[in-house]
Symmetry: C2
Subunit: 119 residues, 2 copies
């Protein structure tokens, strides 16, 4: 008697390398998205349960690795600064999310075909 | 003056989960392929520079996680055993490699479109 079939799930992960370095990972994309939503690096880090230092280092590395900064920090003003995602950063984030959707679609289709064909 | 554009490379990684556990990763697929090629777990491990113990544990876990074994070990006989990939294991490996090719294609296309659109 065959063992019962467990639930198959095809999984995948995407990242972007620039000049051989990791320039955007899932964590980086999530951080950009939270900065976009909150306008604050510390709030973004909190929402993702990242240590502030980790979030800061990640943003610093991304800003150095891409040809243009993905994030800028304003200084001064009434609310004393705030962090925002640049237009360039938004473009990069959208392109990454779009690619993730394409990957998810690929995995969904493949899961159906693969396991469906299996006796 | 803009910084020079570094070389963008979109990267991805695939794995299969069964009942919530990692059932096939890149390392597992590479190991299956080397076992198929060499008929020997120790030779397969050597070719991939995996410790024998790591290779053995990986195969053991895969055999337990899939509904049918991916690998069998023959005992006795003139050459005293040998390890081979089952038909089921071959099918799983082919399905994984096929999916990897699809992912590579997706990444190739996306790399061209993404960076090509960028001014």
């Amino acid at each position: 008697m065959p063992r019962p079939e467990p639930t198959v799930r095809l999984r995948g992960k995407l990242w972007v390398e620039l000049g051989g370095k990791n320039a955007l990972t899932e964590a980086g994309a999530d951080l950009l998205q939270q900065i976009e939503a909150t306008g604050s690096l510390s709030q973004a880090a909190k929402n993702l349960r990242f240590a502030y230092r980790r979030a800061w280092l990640l943003i610093d590395a991304m800003n150095k690795n891409w040809p243009q900064p993905l994030v800028t920090t304003a200084t001064g003003g009434k609310r004393g600064g705030g962090t925002r995602v640049t237009e360039y950063g938004q473009k990069v984030l959208r392109a990454y999310r779009d690619l993730q959707l394409q990957l998810e679609h690929l995995l969904d289709v493949a899961t159906g075909e693969w396991w469906g064909n299996d006796e």
